[in-house]
């Protein structure tokens, strides 16, 4: 079996050269942003939040590559600094959704019966609420901020993980090794942890990749609306929203954070798209629905 898989793989990569290249570019881009997020404070020419490091609203120049904003802050430094909250928000949100969604999904699929009915209804319910409305409602209860915005996005993403975890669990429930473990007197928690979780890991990993881009976009949108990290800190969404009034006179203030953000989301989208083809060529979209 494994030799067959080994023999098939090279021929596949020859037939799909684009796929490998696309994935590599995306991974390279994401690593680039990770480096910016980790080393950002040491790389930037100016402190991102320091006022009046140059003239206000100066266009891109040799000293300020991306220009300066209305408070005289260096735009390049701020664009680099914004990589950190952007990546953290996506990772927090998806981790939260993955953890809770997986537990719900496995429990529903494995326990079945009444549990399945109740948990599935709950998931359907969450799914039926418009995403942004749900996120904004959660944020009005909890207040804005990086962690709270991530949790709000995480709640929105839970049903996607729960559905795929439940479906995959149901698929392997009929396998002999589950019955064998039961006959050996293993507890339900043990079976779920040792047999089900490892065997449904691959669709979950793919779902994670797909949802990173959704979470990234949602976080920037919430930050644009003022629910993200608090004002002096740099953040793509809030940088773009606070530059809206200068859009017509000093467009670079909108252009640079937009480009930085779009490239990041594009990298996540490409990874998600490549992964999606592996999961199931049908009924998946970039929204992960």
């Amino acid at each position: 079996m494994s030799t067959v898989a080994h023999r098939r793989r090279p021929s596949r990569s020859v037939r799909w050269p684009v796929r490998g290249v696309v994935a590599n570019i995306a991974i390279f881009l994401i690593l680039f942003y990770v480096v910016l997020a980790v080393l950002g404070p040491y790389l930037t020419p100016f402190a991102p939040n320091q006022l009046n490091v140059g003239p206000r609203l100066s266009p891109p120049s040799a000293e300020h590559w991306f220009g300066t904003d209305a408070l005289g802050r260096d735009q390049l430094s701020r664009v680099v600094a914004a990589a950190q909250p952007a990546l953290l928000a996506a990772v927090y949100a998806v981790t939260f959704a993955l953890a809770i969604g997986t537990v719900i999904g496995i429990a529903a699929g494995f326990l079945g019966g009444l549990w399945d009915g109740a948990l599935s209804r709950l998931v359907d319910l969450l799914f039926a609420i418009p995403e942004y409305l749900l996120a904004i409602l959660v944020l009005t209860i909890m207040g804005s901020g990086l962690i709270n915005a991530s949790v709000a996005i995480g709640i929105v993403c839970i049903p996607r993980f729960a559905r795929i975890a439940r479906g995959s669990t149901l698929e392997i429930m009929g396998r002999n090794y589950i019955d064998a473990a039961r006959l050996c007197g293993r507890g339900r928690i043990w079976i779920m942890r040792r047999h089900i979780l490892p065997n449904i890991a691959s669709p979950l990993v793919i779902m994670t990749a797909i949802n990173l881009s959704t979470a990234e976009g949602a976080y920037a949108a919430l930050s644009f609306l003022g629910f993200g990290v608090r004002p002096p800190e740099a953040d793509y969404g809030s940088m773009i929203s606070s530059s809206q009034q200068y859009l017509l006179t000093d467009p670079w203030l909108v252009v640079f954070p937009s480009i930085a953000f779009v490239v990041l989301v594009l990298a996540f989208n490409l990874i998600g798209d490549v992964m999606r083809d592996r999961l199931d060529p049908r009924s998946r979209t970039s929204a992960g629905a």
Binding site: P130, T140, A221, F224, L247, L248, V265, S283, T285
Partner: protein, 315 residues
């Protein structure tokens, strides 16, 4: 058919009911501390505060307050804002047409662009052309509404001044002037959504095109164009329709942002300003309307599905 209909209707009401609780408590959570003290001002007497509490029903236990509010909503009374004194229904009645027009136009553009591209990509699946179509779409999809909106506004005010007028005019006053304000915002909502539609169309079409009856149609010499658009596309449509219901929810997010950028007096912008004013009564009313319209949209999609694909009723 009747069973299908009842199930979908019951589901929609259930969701709306649970949402109403969430919305109500979110509204209450909006005001830190005691609302009555805030409203009465810093120097108000105990009696004045108590009077306001009684008037707003704040002295009631919270479940009682919720039930009273829910009863009001069911009667069509969305309450009156204690901050502005305006009936919420009047405020919303002015905002809904703006948002509805924007989202319907956005959806129209998304479908108009998305479906043909998806069909083309499916016909050439796996080839270089397929990726040539998908890659630009993925790039477009990476543009969030606030970037596409900013770009559209910049274009509108710099180059397309004839096509765009910045002040909103209701559709009943002047159709052409109304379209002038709405066209670019609608494109800003619709274009980034189109890739979703085309991806779904593509994957659904690929599956249908692999069916044996498509091969049969080919051997019968039916033209490729007819096979694609009359046989395959129709069979591939149900998941796309379901997605369109889902997109309606995404559009709500687009509304929040695009209305903000273009200063359109719609629901999305209204709810955000109500949140920043801490006008809990208006927020709950607006959120209920958004949720209601979204659920109604999905319900309509569910009811339209059996007409496209009769097999759905048999499940």
């Amino acid at each position: 058919m009747l069973l299908y209909l009842t199930r979908k209707l019951a589901g929609a009401f259930g969701v709306l009911f649970v949402l109403s609780a969430l919305i109500f408590f979110a509204g209450r959570g909006l005001v830190p501390g005691n609302l009555a003290t805030t409203l009465a001002g810093p120097k108000a007497s105990q009696e004045a505060i108590a009077a306001i509490e009684r008037e707003l029903g704040l002295d009631l236990p919270i479940y009682q307050a919720y039930l009273d509010w829910l009863a009001g909503v069911l009667r069509g009374d969305l309450g009156t804002s204690p901050l502005s004194g305006q009936a919420n229904l009047d405020v919303i009645a002015q905002q809904v047409p703006v948002s509805l027009e924007l989202s319907l136009m956005g959806l129209f553009f998304a479908v108009l662009i998305g479906i043909p591209i998806g069909v083309m990509a499916a016909n050439r699946a796996g080839s270089g052309t397929d990726w040539g179509i998908r890659l630009p779409l993925l790039i477009v999809f990476a543009f969030p509404a606030f970037v596409s909106g900013s770009a559209a506004l910049y274009l509108a005010t710099h180059y397309l001044t004839n096509l765009y007028s910045p002040s909103y005019i209701p559709i009943s006053d002047n159709l052409v002037a109304n379209l002038q304000t709405m066209l670019l915002p609608a494109l800003a909502v619709g274009i980034p959504t189109a890739p979703l539609v085309s991806q779904m169309t593509r994957s659904s079409m690929i599956e249908v095109l692999a069916q044996p009856y498509i091969a049969t149609a080919r051997t019968n010499g039916i033209s490729e164009w007819r096979i694609t658009y009359q046989y395959a596309l129709r069979a591939a449509l149900p998941p796309v329709l379901t997605l369109i219901g889902f997109i309606f929810g995404l559009l709500v997010g687009g509304l929040f942002i695009v209305e903000q950028i273009f200063s359109l007096p719609g629901l999305g912008r209204g709810i955000l300003s109500a949140i920043s004013n801490r006008d809990f009564s208006q927020v709950t009313a607006q959120a209920m309307v958004i949720a209601g319209v979204f659920i109604l949209g999905n319900l309509l999609v569910d009811l339209a599905l059996p007409f496209v694909d009769r097999r759905i009723l048999r499940k």
